[in-house]
């Protein structure tokens, strides 16, 4: 009905609507049945009245007792003028159309032609002449007439005409409608709140389940928080709650494993870097030792002394830079990504790059400060760049571009080299699939998990010329811009 509305309201509203619909449907049927009954009763009463009057009047008219005929004809009308079953008038006419007796002497004066029956008097007389035992019916001018011959010992005496107004049943219909409307209103007044209450009762376990699931999602792993009353519920909801809790526990366990794997993988990446870093540190150390030796020997010369000290300073700064970059990897801090993190990664990869004669071209559109966590993004960049270095032929170029859009950061890492086969592309982000002899097969999978957790995604475009990994991370997790 209203697709975005909570079950807490949808079920009660639906139940209330069902109650309302049922009440209206039943009322409609009762009204229809009532109207049929009214019609049937009215027809039956008209026939019975005609039969009774014709029989009674036959006895009176046979002995010419006009007064008794008047009493008998008017008896049903005494104090019952408003009764919907009665005709508007009853009149007895002779063969020439003159009134012998009537229920309404003002309208039908005695011994005068029944002119109140207007132009259809000839039709009535004609019908009366041709109906022997059965009544005839005539409908004219919002009236319908029951025409019945009055006879005694097979001798025709007179004609009884009962004039019913067509709209005489309306007050009865209205009464029926009024009574049914009151009944419907009362039942709706009772059923609506009942429907609402039942709906709320039905929806309550669902709402509880929803709250529990939210809690399980938010506080995964916390045993206390995972307790939920709806689990004790018998039936489908209890089963569902227990299954969701199982799945939730499995998920949280899996997250735990992922966390551990990510840690392990980071260690592995560092391991892959270790030789290069040692080399990075060793290089300036060699330079510095040479500078110290020169200084010892020619230190009295102020120019040489200054040069060697400068050399040592540069070497130490180079080492400090390497160590600083390394420290971030070893002990990730809870801070946000900054442009210098890119420089750090380039520095950590320096030896690896140089080892293969690779050139890392960084294209940075310029961005200041982000809300993205530095640790995970650095790990992703490091993993992808390590893969690029591994996959690149010697003396080629790796291209790293960082493009800051209004709502997302897009990182592209492209390298040349053989394309990744299509069948391998499909399973590339699964664990233990990688084809890197140095790696543990978890790098891409971990990177994919990290990017997903940040609300983004990694896409791969591999052609004969380039293999491009495109990482898209929204500035804010809730933003589905990627």
């Amino acid at each position: 009905m209203i697709p975005h509305l909570s079950f807490r309201y949808r079920i009660p509203i639906n139940l209330a609507a069902a109650a309302l619909g049922t009440a209206l449907l039943i009322s409609g049927f009762v009204l229809w049945h009532d109207i049929q009954s009214i019609h049937h009763d009215a027809d039956f009463a008209a026939n019975q009245l005609g039969l009774l009057l014709a029989n009674t009047l036959a006895k009176d008219l046979a002995i010419d007792d006009q007064w008794q005929a008047y009493l008998d004809l008017t008896a049903p009308f005494r104090d019952n003028r408003e009764n919907w079953l009665l005709p508007a008038f009853a009149v007895v006419i002779d063969g020439s159309g003159k009134t012998l007796v009537s229920s309404d002497p003002k309208r039908f004066p005695l011994a005068l032609s029944a002119t109140a029956l207007k132009a259809y008097l000839p039709s009535i007389l004609d019908m009366a002449a041709h109906t022997i035992r059965q009544p005839a019916y005539l409908e004219r001018d919002h009236f319908h007439f029951h025409i019945r011959p009055i006879s005694s010992n097979s001798q025709f005496l007179a004609t009884l005409v009962l004039g019913f107004e067509d709209d005489r049943l309306w007050p009865r219909y209205l009464l029926s409608i009024q009574q049914i409307a009151i009944g419907t209103a009362v039942s709706i007044l009772l059923l609506l709140p009942l429907g609402w209450w039942l709906g709320r009762r039905l929806a309550r376990p669902l709402t509880e389940l929803q709250q529990c699931v939210t809690r399980w999602a938010d506080q995964s792993g916390d045993k206390e928080a995972t307790q939920c009353a709806v689990e004790n519920h018998h039936g489908e909801l209890g089963l569902l709650a227990r299954r969701i809790q199982q799945v939730s526990q499995q998920l949280s366990e899996r997250k735990q494993i992922e966390k551990q794997l990510a840690h392990t993988e980071r260690q592995a990446a560092l391991g892959r870097l270790a030789a290069g870093i040692a080399h990075e540190i060793n290089n300036p150390l060699g330079g510095m030792l040479t500078a110290i030796a020169i200084n010892k020997r020619h230190g009295h010369d102020p120019t040489v002394a200054k040069d060697t000290i400068d050399l040592i300073e540069r070497g130490l700064q180079q080492i400090r830079g390497i160590v600083a970059a390394l420290l971030v990897e070893v002990k990730p801090e809870e801070r946000t990504l900054e442009p210098k993190d890119v420089q750090d990664i380039a520095r950590l990869l320096g030896t690896k790059l140089r080892g293969k004669g690779l050139h890392l071209a960084i294209e940075d559109t310029g961005w200041e400060h982000t809300q993205l966590p530095a640790g995970p993004v650095r790990q992703v960049l490091l993993n992808l760049l390590l893969n690029a270095i591994q996959a690149s032929p010697e003396n080629t170029r790796i291209h790293l571009s960082l493009q800051a859009d209004t709502d997302q950061l897009v990182v592209r890492i492209s390298n040349t080299g053989p394309p990744i086969p299509a069948e391998q592309q499909q399973r590339l982000f699964e664990p233990l699939v990688g084809n890197n002899p140095d790696g543990n097969g978890l790098g891409l999978w971990i990177s994919d998990q990290i990017v997903h957790r940040l609300g983004g995604k990694i896409q791969l475009y591999s052609t004969t010329e380039h293999t491009v990994f495109e990482v898209c991370i929204p500035w804010e997790k809730s933003n589905e811009s990627c």
Partner: protein, 301 residues
């Protein structure tokens, strides 16, 4: 040993049967004796000459008469005066309260017992009434082409007098009126006119006055247009076959009704003063009308 016992048992049975038979004979004899002793009820015919529908009037009057007569009284009601008159003539009734018209037709056969006194005299009149909203009609002359309600063919004020009056005016009711209706009771004439079933009607003035007094809602729907001359009030008569003793006893009771409180209360219910034995000549005017119309009315002696 057991023979005498057997004969003894049979002796007991015979004794019991004998006692039972004796009791039965005694009982039957007493029934027969009481049936012989119980007096035959006095049959009293009543007609529409007085408002018989007054609450409890008939049962009170029955008790009143039974107490004083010392025998049961049976009221007999019939639709028409003619039926009561026939029953009186044939001796099926001991007495009856009849209209002046049948009385004068059968004066020789009936014994006048009493005549009620209304408004101080033993007379009443015929009233011509129309609907209360008919302000034009002033008398019989204005009723040409109208529907007229009579009481019944043996009514003085409700048939004989209107016919006589038309005769005086040189009119014949069959041609003068569009239609005529017999309503078989004075009160019905009022109703027929009030409900406009009939345009006009003639009835006992005494009855109209009582109804105006006791049921004003009905009477005020009609208007009295004309009052006739006085006629002798409908009398209570005895059949020729009624014993002198019964007739005399009944006459005495009726004539003395006003003297005791119970009788007075009954008379009050009918708005009557008392009963008297008037000179039969008070009915002469009715007889004169009968004489005048003799050729027009299908009269039996």
């Amino acid at each position: 040993m057991w023979r005498p016992r057997a004969s003894g048992r049979s002796g007991h049975a015979r004794l019991c049967a004998g006692i039972f038979c004796a009791l039965f004979i005694l009982y039957s004899a007493s029934r027969a004796a009481s049936a012989d002793q119980a007096p035959r009820p006095l049959s009293f015919g009543i007609t529409a000459v007085f408002p018989v529908d007054q609450e409890n009037f008939l049962s009170d009057w029955k008790r009143y008469l039974e107490t004083r007569l010392g025998r049961p009284v049976q009221f007999v009601r019939r639709k028409s005066y003619a039926e009561i008159t026939d029953m009186l003539l044939s001796g099926q009734l001991d007495a009856a309260w009849i209209c002046s018209f049948p009385y004068v037709l059968n004066r020789q056969q009936f014994r006048l017992l009493a005549t009620p006194v209304f408004h101080g005299e033993p007379y009443y009149r015929s009233y011509l009434i129309v609907s209360a909203d008919d302000h034009k009609t002033r008398g019989y002359r204005d009723l040409k082409g109208k529907v007229f309600a009579y009481v019944e063919p043996r009514s003085n004020t409700g048939y004989l007098y209107p016919r006589y009056r038309l005769h005086q005016l040189g009119l014949d009711d069959r041609q003068f009126f569009r239609d005529t209706v017999f309503t078989w009771a004075h009160a019905n004439v009022i109703r027929a006119v009030a409900e406009k079933m009939a345009d006009a009607g003639a009835l006992d003035g005494y009855i109209w006055e009582v109804i105006r007094h006791r049921q004003p809602a009905l009477a005020i729907r009609t208007r009295v247009v004309a009052r006739s001359d006085k006629f002798g009030f409908p009398p209570i008569v005895a059949s020729a076959s009624t014993s002198e003793e019964t007739a005399g006893k009944l006459k005495k009771i009726l004539l003395e009704m006003h003297l005791d409180p119970d009788g007075k209360r009954l008379l009050d219910k009918l708005d009557l003063d008392r009963m008297i034995l008037p000179s039969p000549s008070i009915y002469d005017s009715v007889e004169a009308m009968v004489g005048t119309l003799a050729g027009k009315l299908a009269l039996r002696p």
